[in-house]
């Protein structure tokens, strides 16, 4: 008898090892996938946090002594002159056109700002740092293949030559890319930023919080503390649990038809986006609040009821304060989900090209995830880099929200 058992042991243990290996492997595969995503985002996005700038000597651009009225100056030409002087070339018209492609269209505005901020005084050894164009930025960051045939790369031989010369002269610098955080969207990659999108996201999140939190908690209180166990309550629970799993795009359809078409609310507005996201987040808040309320010991309720408090007083004085940290944790997690939502916002027209930072909840706006979607669609290499950077910012926000939730939970558990 025992020989039978022994004879099968090797095979059984081999099966055991195989199965265990598969289990470990599947966890590792998932972890690896996560690592590859984050790794590739970092590899690609890190460079977008710096921006190549060319520093141009002021005397080469501006006449010495008193400056002419700033409105009368041709700053565009001044920038090109300075570049030509720096490179010690005398460009013809075609070359000037190529030269213009080296600097961002923003360069002239930078120069104007400099002149307007220092009226009448030009320091002879000062220089102004103007942003380089996205093509130059990519070349400096080593993001393009110099050996490719000249018609298959964005910069001509002449331009590459100039860039090399500028590098030799020490006129090229890479500084922190402030535009990424202070600008709205732009057609020019080197000027495109996430500020407008981020502001849109924040406005929407505030509306979502203001709508979904009170309603969600109230619904949870009713279901846990007051609702009779009847058939329609089961229906209510089912519809909440179902809503938590309905595709988010369907909520977008609801917003489009009811809020925009029927009620005439403005398209692309954070108000509509926030309301749609509130409906999306509501089930999450209800479900987590219910389990938080359920976790409050019954003895507390009975003790207060025994002292003559009404049901409502028991809830507001004892149950809710006890459950609140867990409710807040669940709400933050729900909000972080809403923060990353994209699809429903596409339905309500938040995919517009938004340059200005929205100042109110009815201004046209977009959201950070939608901005990522729009940039991901752009063919330029420079936008791919910024997409990754914007994703890193988005993930940073989500991470801090989740850490906050975890911190609250840990504090309460202690």
């Amino acid at each position: 008898m025992n020989r039978v058992v022994e004879s099968r042991l090797r095979r059984r243990h081999r099966r055991e090892r195989t199965f265990r290996g598969l289990c470990v492997a599947s966890v590792l595969v998932a972890a690896l996938f996560l690592l590859v995503i984050l790794g590739s985002l970092f590899r690609q996005g890190a460079s977008a946090f710096t921006q190549t700038r060319i520093s141009l000597p002021v005397p080469a651009m501006l006449p010495a002594g008193d400056l002419p009225d700033s409105g009368a100056m041709d700053y565009d030409a001044a920038v090109l002159d300075a570049l030509a002087a720096l490179l010690a070339i005398d460009p013809d018209r075609a070359e000037r056109r190529e030269l213009r492609q080296l600097v961002s269209i923003d360069a002239a505005f930078v120069l104007r700002d400099y002149v307007e901020s220092s009226p009448g005084r030009v320091v002879s050894d000062a220089s102004v740092r103007v942003p380089a164009s996205a093509k130059v930025d990519m070349a400096i960051k080593g993001e393009f293949d110099r050996t490719a045939a000249s018609d298959r790369r964005p910069l001509s031989d002449l331009q590459i030559d100039w860039i090399d010369r500028l590098v030799e002269l020490g006129a090229i610098e890479r500084t922190f890319n402030t535009a990424l955080f202070t600008n709205g969207d732009s057609r020019e990659p080197e000027l495109a930023g996430i500020r407008a999108a981020l502001m849109g996201s924040v406005l929407m999140l505030l509306i979502t919080l203001a709508v979904a939190f009170p309603i969600g908690v109230a619904a949870a209180v009713y279901l846990e503390e007051f609702a009779p166990r009847r058939a329609w309550i089961r229906l209510l629970e089912l519809s909440i649990n179902n809503l938590a799993a309905v595709p988010s795009i369907v909520f977008g359809l609801l917003g489009l038809v009811v809020l925009i078409d029927w009620l005439g609310m403005p398209r692309s507005a954070p108000l509509v986006g926030g309301l749609v996201l509130a409906l999306l987040t509501l089930p999450v808040i209800v479900i987590s609040s219910r389990s938080a309320i359920r976790a409050v010991p019954t003895s507390i309720r009975e003790a207060s009821l025994g002292l003559g408090a009404s049901r409502m007083q028991v809830v507001s004085h004892h149950v809710l304060p006890q459950a609140m940290p867990a409710i807040v944790t669940g709400t933050i997690i729900g909000l972080s989900r809403a923060f990353g939502e994209t699809a429903p916002l596409l339905m309500i027209g938040m995919v517009a090209f938004i340059v200005d930072v929205p100042s109110g909840v009815t201004d046209p706006a977009t959201a950070l995830p939608v901005q990522i979607y729009l940039w991901a669609d752009s063919p330029e290499r420079a936008f791919a880099e910024r997409t990754s950077a914007a994703i890193l910012v988005l993930l940073g926000f989500l991470l801090s929200m989740n850490l906050l939730a975890a911190a609250i939970r840990r504090k309460v558990e202690k």
Partner: protein, 460 residues
């Protein structure tokens, strides 16, 4: 007077009414120690007064906000010059839209007719707000007066306030049902308009999807083709690929965390899996286009295969990993709900860990796992951003994972993003698709949730 000021006014009214109600109650109860002579604490009389003052204006305000725009536009349309009134409804809508745009642009439009209409629109809006403010004040004052009359020592203020709160709680929990009904009504309403143009049978069983043909009404053969089978097959193909990743990886990783991992390893492995669930889908979409699709293409071409740039495989693979945590956490929960005593019984018989896991635990946890899988399929079918970014637009009726296919959600997005008119079949088709999507996912969710609940009840 704008909405914010009206809300501020109401807030002030609420505070005033609260103080007034409380002091009235205290006076009636006889100053210090009033509470003994009153039915409820003085605060409750204050809350009661505040509710009386604020609720009626708030209701009017809500109705106003919902219908103001429509009423104003209707009034404006009635007052327009005759040649504008003669326009077709569509053109009139266009004109009214340009009025609204001009109004929000702040600069005066060049066209005198438009400028006059814009002026009229703005003044109508102003009078509407004044009317609203006046109404709010009158109603609020009326509420306070009503509260004044009802407050006396035996008045059960606490009960009244608690009843009001209770109604608020009930209304709040009704929002979920209202949302469900709202989705069904709104989407069906638009979908029904679509089915006036396109027959249900063509939509459900047609094999050609080419709505682009209907961009312009005056085109010959502008009908467009709205057969959704290629979309369903594409959705199914991508969902199958996703589940082929998510089911094995999800269940096996749950087996690891629930059956093998020590407490410490588990505390590390679960969050790693949960992070995957927290990454926004737009990030997965970007990753799929930028990394996975080119990899698959390179690998496929080195094997001599013809791989489309936007292959179903790339979208499906990435979606699969997105769904892993959902399958994994529901499976983990189901596996851990199997009582330890049953495991020990098998262990004492001489079963190995894997035999316990596969022969004993897996069958016992099956309802929960199946529920999780159904919810995951629903998520795969409804997922939008990954497919919008990584799957194609070509409606191929194909089951080849290396080809480009399109999905229901991709088409909804394509049809609705950008300018849209609510009366073209092209736009309305999106709602018909949305209705199909909602019904399919709801069925999956309800059955899946039923399974999940069943195992919870079994071991509780």
């Amino acid at each position: 007077m704008d909405l914010t000021s009206i809300l501020l006014l109401l807030a002030g009214l609420a505070v005033g009414a609260f103080l007034f109600g409380r002091s009235r109650a205290q006076a009636l109860g006889g100053g210090v120690g009033a509470a003994r002579n009153l039915h409820s604490l003085p605060d409750y009389y204050g809350y009661f007064a505040a509710l009386c003052a604020v609720l009626p204006p708030l209701m009017v305000l809500t109705l106003w906000a919902a219908f103001e725009e429509r009423v104003v536009l209707a009034l404006l349309a009635n007052g327009l010059p005759d040649h504008l009134q003669a326009l077709s409804p569509g053109q009139l809508d266009l004109f009214l839209n340009s009025v609204r745009n001009a109004a929000s642009a702040a600069s005066v439009p060049a066209d005198p007719v438009l400028a006059a209409a814009t002026d009229e629109y703005l003044s109508l809006g102003r009078s509407s707000r004044w009317l609203l403010s006046g109404l709010a004040v009158v109603l609020g004052a009326g509420g306070v007066a009503a509260a004044w009359r009802s407050i006396h020592p035996a008045f059960r203020a606490r009960n009244r306030v608690e009843t009001a709160i209770r109604w608020f709680l009930i209304a709040a929990s009704g929002v979920a049902v209202l949302t469900t009904v709202g989705i069904l009504l709104a989407v069906s309403f638009e979908a029904l308009r679509f089915f006036r143009d396109v027959s249900l049978s063509e939509f459900l069983f047609g094999t050609t999807w080419s709505p682009q043909a209907a961009i312009r009404d005056d085109q010959i053969g502008s009908a467009g083709r709205f057969g959704m089978l290629p979309l369903l097959s594409g959705t199914l193909l991508i969902a199958v690929i996703a589940m082929a990743v998510a089911i094995p990886v999800g269940i096996l990783s749950a087996m690891y965390t629930a059956e093998y991992a020590s407490t410490r390893v588990r505390a590390l492995a679960r969050p790693v899996l949960e992070i995957l669930a927290g990454i926004p889908t737009v990030v997965y979409g970007f990753f799929a286009v930028l990394m996975v699709a080119p990899w698959i293409r390179t690998i496929g071409e080195s094997l001599g295969l013809n791989v489309a740039a936007e292959s179903a495989l790339a979208a499906g693979l990435v979606m699969g990993f997105m769904i892993v945590p959902l399958v994994s956490s529901l499976s983990d929960e189901a596996i851990r709900a199997v009582p330890a005593s049953i495991r020990e019984g098998a262990e004492a018989l001489g079963a190995t860990r894997s035999e316990i896991a596969l022969d004993i635990v897996l069958p016992a946890a099956m309802p929960g796992i199946v529920g999780g899988i159904l919810l995951a399929v629903s998520r795969a079918i409804g997922e939008t951003m990954i497919v919008v970014m990584a799957a194609g637009l070509a409606a191929n009726l194909s089951f080849n994972p290396l080809e480009s296919v399109t999905t229901v959600t991709v088409q909804i997005t394509t049809l609705l993003v950008g300018d849209q008119e609510f009366d073209s079949a092209r736009t309305l088709a999106a709602f018909a698709l949305g209705l199909v999507l909602f019904i399919i996912t709801m069925l999956l969710n309800v059955v899946g949730l039923g399974y999940v609940r069943r195992y919870r009840e079994r071991y509780e």
